[in-house]
């Protein structure tokens, strides 16, 4: 069985601070990391390999980005993926989700066939969550989104539980299929020292638009159907009322109740 995991390098949000004056996120000098939600996709792939009693399972991590994004694929290898591939080309720059998905799908076709493709729910920087389902559609395979557990997997089918509004639903799909886990599926493992050493020794090949035989008009800015035309910086901080602990619990509770009253949010309580 062959599994591909799509991963993305994002700015490490844990180290991001808010600029006190402008109320905007400080991104300068921020380190990059593997998108936290992608870790669950990598973990899911590793567990599939561990659970399979028969036959070999080969896991390839695929990422797209600038040359330094190689690190994201290397990190996935250090967690236990067998190999990593970076899709990198100036011509990929400025890709929206449609162009990104098309490019990734091309790479999956070239490197495939894969039985299972895993992707994170969304990246913590772009926050669209559109790439996984769109890649599935470009490959014309089912997209199993918001998956909280993989319940069964055999040579022909996969059965999963999906976490949707108000509950969980069970779904069975033929493979190949795209599986997009949510965080509740697993706890991603940390990479071991051995894993890190192995990642160091593993070469991450880089594929460009020519390698993918991808028409320049179909990727990057040219291949994108959406364009950012304007950007504004909303004020995140609010001038609120503050009550210190010295005021006592009673005053604090009164302030809360008064505000709930003012906002007409006490109907249910009455």
């Amino acid at each position: 069985m062959r599994i591909a995991v799509l991963v993305k390098q994002v700015p490490a949000t844990d180290s991001v601070k808010i600029d006190e004056k402008t109320g905007t996120m400080v991104r300068e000098g921020v380190e990059a990391e593997l998108n936290p939600l992608d870790l669950h996709a990598v973990e899911a792939a590793l567990r599939i390999r561990e659970c399979r009693s028969e036959g070999a399972t080969e896991i390839t991590a695929i990422t797209m980005g600038p040359p330094q994004a190689k690190k994201a694929a290397a990190y996935a290898v250090s967690m236990g993926c067998d190999s990593g591939v970076l899709l990198s080309d100036k011509r990929f720059g400025g890709s929206d989700t449609l162009a990104t998905s098309r490019t990734l799908a091309k790479a999956l076709k070239k490197l495939g066939p894969f039985d299972i493709i895993l992707a994170g729910e969304r990246a913590t920087d772009g926050e669209t969550g559109q790439v996984g389902p769109a890649v599935a559609e470009f490959l014309r395979i089912p997209a199993l989104t918001y998956v909280s557990s993989i319940d069964e997997l055999d040579e022909g089918h996969i059965t999963v539980t999906r976490s949707v509004e108000g509950g969980h639903e069970k779904m069975k799909a033929p493979i190949p299929a795209m599986v997009i886990p949510v965080k509740e599926m697993n706890i991603p493992r940390l990479c071991t020292l051995g894993g890190k050493l192995r990642a160091k020794k593993t070469e991450i090949p880089v594929l460009n638009a020519d390698d993918l035989a991808l028409d320049e008009d179909l990727t990057g800015l040219k291949g994108s159907a959406t364009l950012v035309v304007n950007v504004t910086y909303p004020q995140m901080t609010r001038e609120g009322r503050k009550i210190l602990s010295s005021a006592g619990t009673k005053d604090a509770v009164k302030a809360i109740v008064d505000l709930l009253e003012e906002k007409n949010c006490l109907e249910a309580a009455r």
Partner: protein, 341 residues
């Protein structure tokens, strides 16, 4: 410029045989676009046994409803949905297609985008029509709500986006509105799915999903343990709200992931967001920037959440929570006594 009379479409969301309220929010969005464009607003209703519900969409603002009613659509199966949407968009060629950023909208819309090669913008919080070009301007928060990006779609129509649930109120229901109901019979080849729906287990937790909730009572590490989260549920029950949580509380296993608010959880847009024992990491704050009113309780006077709160209470989260619950219960019982008299 783009002087067509192509329609604005919204994708109604069906649960069982009923129309989910987000479908009506979408029509409120749609009216704001269709009116300046002087084009009809249509809703797409796909399901099994849903045709009798179509009038509800007219009453909520639609001029037309395209109805695809077939037993095949009893469950939401993404491949079948993409197929029918491709068929409908090809046949009627709408200018704009808006869906809700629910698990369904967020699954089927990216697939449709890939299928028909049209752009898609995720999770918009504002939509408008550019008076010069007549094109759709889609505004969405980026970089954790620190930036608002205006996005335009180029290339072929429809211009597509998903919008956050609860970011607009539905219009008042008007049963006197007249509209056109159009039954569409898709070719047989579009019916049927490779997927098989095996069942649904509802969640037992209190209230609506956090993305749909008007009142969210959230807790963080400062709640100290899972047991104390029960208090948040009690308050949520009293106020008719839903329990949310910081990433820390979810990682500690006190609450399920479905309750997680923030960058790696859900972005929420309630009327009231109450945060107990949440210090307010950037990722969390990013997820609550769309809240109308934020009330934060934390022992640390320097907690970052106080910078974004409308009411900041410095104090012990559990103590304030207990006192608040007592106060609301007391008021409740007093009122009941009064009514009984």
């Amino acid at each position: 410029m783009n002087g067509t009379n192509k329609e604005v479409w919204t994708l109604a969301e069906v649960r069982g045989k009923t129309i989910h309220p987000v479908s009506k929010e979408l029509l409120a969005w749609g009216r704001e676009l269709a009116d300046p464009m002087r084009v009809p607003l249509a809703s797409i209703l796909v399901g099994s046994g849903v045709a009798p519900r179509a009038e509800e969409l007219i009453a909520a603002g639609a001029d037309k409803v395209y109805i695809v009613d077939d037993p095949s659509f009893e469950n939401f199966l993404c491949d079948e949905q993409v197929g029918i949407l491709e068929y409908l968009t090809d046949k009627y060629n709408p200018s704009i297609l808006i869906a809700s950023a629910t698990t369904r909208g967020r699954t089927v819309m990216p697939m449709l985008s890939a299928r028909i090669g049209c752009g898609l913008t995720a999770d918009c919080t504002e939509l408008s029509i550019d008076p010069v070009s007549g094109r759709l301007i889609q505004t969405r928060p980026a970089i954790g709500g620190n930036v608002m990006a205006d996005i335009k779609t180029r290339g072929r129509d429809p211009q597509m986006c998903t919008v956050r649930p609860k970011s607009k109120r539905p219009l008042d229901t008007d049963r006197s509105r007249k509209g056109e109901l159009i039954k569409v019979s898709p070719p047989q080849s579009l019916l049927g799915s490779a997927l098989k729906f095996l069942g649904f287990t509802p969640e037992t937790s209190v209230g609506l999903p956090i993305q749909e909730a008007e009142i969210i009572i959230s807790g963080g590490k400062g709640m100290k343990n899972a047991k104390n989260f029960a208090k948040l549920e009690e308050l949520a029950r009293l106020l008719g709200g839903t329990v949310g949580a910081s990433r820390m509380a979810v990682d500690l296993g006190w609450v399920p992931y479905s309750a997680q608010v923030g960058l790696s959880g859900k972005s929420v847009t309630p009327r009231i967001y109450m945060a107990f024992g949440i210090s307010g990491a950037v990722q969390h704050i990013a997820g609550i920037s769309g809240a109308e009113t934020i009330i934060a309780v934390n022992h640390d006077p320097e907690a970052p959440i106080f910078r974004v709160a409308d009411l900041s209470i410095q104090g012990d989260a559990m103590e304030i929570l207990d006192a608040l619950i007592d106060s609301l219960k007391k008021e409740q019982s007093e009122r009941w006594t009064l009514t009984a008299d």
